[in-house]
């Protein structure tokens, strides 16, 4: 019996050694360890062995079984590795990959997401207010004098609807600043608002589209200062444009802020040396200022107790300036040419 078991082991090991494919190794496995396999049958015969030797033979049979199993497993592994390296040899890694059919988000969507995230990280919450507005929210409450040029037919789109006794004509808001009034009327300070929306002005040329996007910040609290406005805008500029881009604020004039600023950043093309695109090394980014006391009042907030700062910039502008996209006609941004949209 012992000799028979050893013989089976040797036979099995030499089959395994010679096997050159996974199929033949499976065959060998069946031949020895299968239901009618040689070892299986031999093990069945152990009960015929005299009782005093049966335990020792049983142990040997187990050893043989384990040895064969181990040899099969290791040979299998060995064969798998060989076949894989064979496949790898057949791959030409320089052949083109099969493209996954991924689409594209619009430039503006991508910019809005980034802007939202940056301001979110310093506590500004995005809101949404009407695009079609009453004059009162877009102009009067923002301290625009009645005869301000922005209020005439040349600059703002008006809607052919009956005007409101209380709020005046209906129009397409020319700036996200109307959201300042909406925000103040519906919330109590402290306020940290980010309003990103479509805005409309009656202009169409290489630098202007009649519809565009602005993002507006508004903060209202006790004891806000020009220093806070600077800190907030600088944080945005560093986060959006990069740590080496500097910010400067300089005097400007808006009806709804006092003091008012124009915010410039280091020119992203010449990096401050001065070029065709910029003004002596600086690029104009947008407006900002301390909320005018009349505007706070119109928003139902006591200007003796609270102060605010606000900024309103163009989404298109910050995006195109950062990317140096060289889009010489802004109207392209709102065209639906796939050749354009698929680039981003």
């Amino acid at each position: 019996m012992e000799e028979e078991l050893i013989g089976i082991k040797n036979a099995a090991l030499s089959f395994i050694l010679e096997a050159e494919s996974l199929e033949s190794i499976e065959e060998t496995k069946l031949q020895f360890l299968g239901k009618n396999g040689r070892l299986t049958i031999a093990i069945k015969d152990i009960k015929k062995v005299p009782e005093d030797k049966r335990a020792a033979v049983g142990m040997l049979a187990n050893e043989v079984k384990e040895t064969i199993e181990r040899a099969i497993e290791s040979k299998k592994q060995n064969l798998k590795e060989k076949s894989l390296s064979h496949v790898v040899k057949k791959i030409d890694v320089t052949n083109p990959g099969k493209a996954a059919p991924i689409g594209h988000l619009h430039l503006i969507t991508q910019a809005i997401e980034e802007i939202t995230d940056i301001f979110k990280s310093i506590g500004f919450t995005r809101v949404k207010y009407p695009e079609v507005e009453w004059d009162w929210f877009s102009f009067t409450a923002l301290n625009f004098p009645q005869n301000h040029p922005a209020r005439d037919d040349w600059e703002t789109f008006f809607i052919d609807e009956r005007q409101s006794d209380k709020f005046g004509p209906m129009l397409l808001t020319p700036h996200t600043s109307s959201g300042q009034i909406r925000e103040m009327l519906s919330n109590k300070p402290p306020i940290k608002m980010l309003n990103i929306a479509k805005t409309y002005r009656r202009q169409a040329d290489v630098g202007h589209t009649p519809m565009f996007h602005q993002f507006e910040t508004l903060a209202v609290s006790e004891n806000l200062s020009i220093g806070h406005l600077k800190g907030t805008l600088e944080y945005f500029v560093r986060s959006f444009f990069g740590p080496n881009i500097k910010t400067r604020i300089r005097p400007y004039h808006f009806e709804f802020t006092e003091p008012s600023f124009e915010v410039d950043i280091t020119c992203t093309v010449c990096l401050g040396k001065g070029c065709k695109l910029c003004k002596e090394g600086w690029l104009e980014m947008g407006g900002a200022g301390m909320v005018h006391p009349n505007v706070l009042k119109n928003g139902g907030i006591d200007p003796q107790k609270y102060r605010g700062f606000a900024s309103g910039w163009g989404v298109e502008r910050v995006l195109l300036m950062r990317e140096n996209l060289n889009i010489d006609d802004l109207r392209l941004v709102y065209s639906s040419k796939l050749e354009f949209l698929e680039q981003f």
């Binding site: 052919d160 940290k192 903060a219 200062s225 020009i226 220093g227 800190g231 006391p293």
Partner: protein
């Protein structure tokens, strides 16, 4: 509005060693933006943007005063010398022409009659005007422009003999009146323009904008009426925009010029006529100034100045800054009592004073701080923007490209009766005359723009606008898309919508046959109408959904269903029926609770094969259990619904 200023002219009023570049840099930081320094004959010309609230800076003397204040605050030595006039001329009531003005449209008129000799201006004079972008014509005209640049008030000159009148009436025009300007162009007036008429009712000037041909100075002019008129800016703006006459004078006058500098302009002009054109004064000065502006007073505390600026600025520093800008300031303990110069109509409240101090002090010196407070409202992570962005991302990764099309459309692109549309009163073009009520026409336009593409997958999420009675229109976020391909598949679009919405937890969409003409489906969530899939032709399918309704059904709640302990049993049933697939699935599922899933596996000719999963969470299902339920299903379909079963 921009102004060009040659440095030599500026330095006539500004004594400083600062370089041209330094002056530009400091002006930009503290006052007006110097956009470029241009070079002309080796001289620096500042190209300066002046904000509309500071028409007082549309002049050499105005900029010189500002530059002086800013330079001193930056520690650079500088001295400002204002325009000074040394001669005295009589003012009186015996002006040879009886000028009748209207104080509602004209604030002030200053005028004088002079004898002059027409000729060429000196070279320096011509150079300076040309550096400022003004063409030199002759010495008489050049003086008016020179004064406008130097003092900041537009002026006008008539040929007195061509004018030839005893009366001059300044009045509002009537609609339809005509005039010919000095450049020979004839205009028909719309009314409310400020005009001057002579004793015969002839229009002899379009005030504040441009002179008329019938009274303009010529080479033969011997005597002039030199005329400084300060007008109502609103009238000037309307006339200038309506007629499209954008002269330097109009651009200045529409901003509102301080009437107090009108006299300075007149006196400076007289002086220049004497120097350049052998000018002889032939009358007293006429000065009609019915509503004089008065000085205003503002009081402000040191604490407020420092609080708003965010930097402690000593009171005496604030005072010095205001002094240098021409304010008259008294220090009273910890307060400043300030008299506002009449030229500074823009300074009205404490905040205006703070701006004056802060900008000259230097914005760059104010420390930057990020405000540390947060809104008391709780922060909502899953807001509408979150879902919008998530859907956009899903669409992108499913192969769709996002478009942004204009909210404004043509009449053809408005869906439904045009009377219900929100109409733009003053559209730029007929292509953008209405606010849209559907995104689909715009996306179809996009397909048209990409005609050569066989495969187009685009989408947009934007507002649509619906009229409401005496309220602002309803703005509703819509989600629309288009699939264009060879034999476009309705089920592909349906599957896309289901998967994209499933990603934001919106389930159980109900698809019904569309009530609209053509093929497609109306989609519901519960009882709410969500939108449509429209099969436009074999290659073109669009869909449009109301995103606000989608938002109502979003669900980010995570649920866990334990794994089944007992194996499921699967089998297929093939049927022939006129019922729709959803009905059949519902009917099959209604037979027994252990039918955990039914879906359409295959469709061939009239026959549909459903794959049924039997799953009991309590026990092992036996073959007999399943056989009996299957029999019930078949019975229910056959007997109850006349469905033919294919065994």
């Amino acid at each position: 509005m921009n102004i060009l200023i040659p440095t030599s002219w500026l330095r006539e009023h500004l004594a400083t060693k600062a370089s041209d570049e330094m002056i530009a840099e400091i002006l930009s930081a503290s006052s007006v933006s110097v956009e470029k320094i241009r070079k002309r004959n080796d001289e620096s010309i500042y190209d300066i943007e002046v904000t509309t609230n500071r028409p007082d800076l549309m002049s050499i003397s105005g900029i010189a005063r500002e530059a002086n204040a800013a330079l001193i605050s930056h520690g650079i030595e500088s001295k400002f010398s204002p325009i000074s006039i040394n001669q005295t001329i009589n003012k009186g009531n015996s002006f040879p022409i009886d000028v009748k003005s209207d104080s509602k449209i004209v604030n002030r008129i200053c005028a004088i009659i002079m004898a002059i000799r027409v000729g060429r201006s000196p070279k320096l004079f011509i150079d300076r005007l040309e550096a400022c972008g003004i063409r030199s014509l002759n010495n008489v005209i050049d003086v008016t422009n020179y004064v406008m640049r130097e003092v900041g008030h537009p002026t006008h000159v008539f040929d007195l003999d061509r004018l030839n009148t005893n009366y001059l009436t300044i009045t509002r025009s009537e609609k339809g009146e005509q005039l010919t300007t000095l450049d020979g162009k004839t205009y028909t007036l719309l009314g409310d323009d400020i005009i001057a008429k002579d004793e015969n009712g002839r229009i002899v000037d379009l005030l504040g904008i441009l002179g008329t041909q019938n009274s303009v100075v010529t080479d033969q002019t011997k005597r002039i009426l030199f005329f400084v008129d300060n007008n109502n800016p609103a009238n000037i703006r309307n006339t200038s925009m309506n007629l499209g006459i954008r002269t330097d004078a109009a651009i200045l006058n529409e901003k509102g010029i301080d009437p107090n500098i009108a006299m300075t302009a007149l006196l400076r002009g007289i002086e220049l006529y004497q120097d350049l054109a052998d000018g002889k004064i032939e009358s007293e000065i006429l000065d009609i100034y019915p509503n004089k502006t008065t000085n205003r007073q503002i009081s402000i505390s040191n604490e407020k100045i420092s609080d708003v600026i965010g930097a402690g600025i000593p009171l005496n520093v604030s005072k010095k800054i205001l002094d240098s800008l021409g304010f008259i300031v008294e220090m009273d303990k910890d307060r400043l009592e300030i008299q506002i110069p009449v030229t500074r109509a823009d300074v009205r409240i404490e905040e205006d004073i703070i701006e004056e101090i802060a900008r000259i002090y230097g914005y760059h010196k104010i420390p930057s701080v990020i405000p540390g407070f947060f809104s008391t409202k709780s922060y909502k992570y899953h807001d509408s923007f979150y879902f919008e962005q998530r859907v956009k991302n899903a669409m992108k990764y499913l192969g769709f490209t996002e478009a942004y099309t204009y909210s404004l459309v043509s009449e053809e692109k408005y869906e439904g009766p045009i009377e219900s549309a929100l109409k733009i009163k003053n559209p730029l073009s007929i292509d953008m005359a209405y606010l849209r009520n559907s995104l689909v026409p715009s996306l179809l336009q996009a397909v048209e723009e990409n005609k050569k593409r066989d495969l187009i997958q685009i989408f947009e999420i934007s507002n649509i606008y619906e009229k409401r009675k005496s309220e602002l229109p309803k703005e509703t976020l819509f989600f629309a898309g288009i699939l264009k391909e060879q034999s476009a598949d309705f089920y592909k679009v349906k599957g896309l919508i289901i998967e994209v919405l499933k990603d934001i937890g919106v389930k159980d969409l109900i698809f019904k046959n569309t009530k609209k003409a053509g093929a497609g489906s109306s989609i519901y969530l519960g009882k709410e109408y969500l939108g449509e899939i429209e099969v436009l032709d074999t290659n073109l399918i669009d869909f449009e959904l109301n995103f606000e309704i989608i938002l109502k059904f979003t669900n980010v709640k995570k649920t866990y269903k334990p794994f089944a302990k007992f194996p499921a049993i699967h089998e297929d049933i093939s049927v022939i029926s006129t019922l729709n697939t959803q009905n059949l699935i519902n009917e099959i599922q209604s037979v027994n609770r252990i039918i955990s899933d039914v879906y359409l596996k295959d469709e061939y000719n009239e026959s549909r094969t459903f794959h049924i999963t039997y799953q009991d969470f309590e026990k092992n299902l036996t073959k007999d259990d399943v056989a009996s339920i299957r029999a019930k299903i078949i019975n229910h379909l056959k007997e109850g619904l006349q469905v033919q079963i294919r065994e």
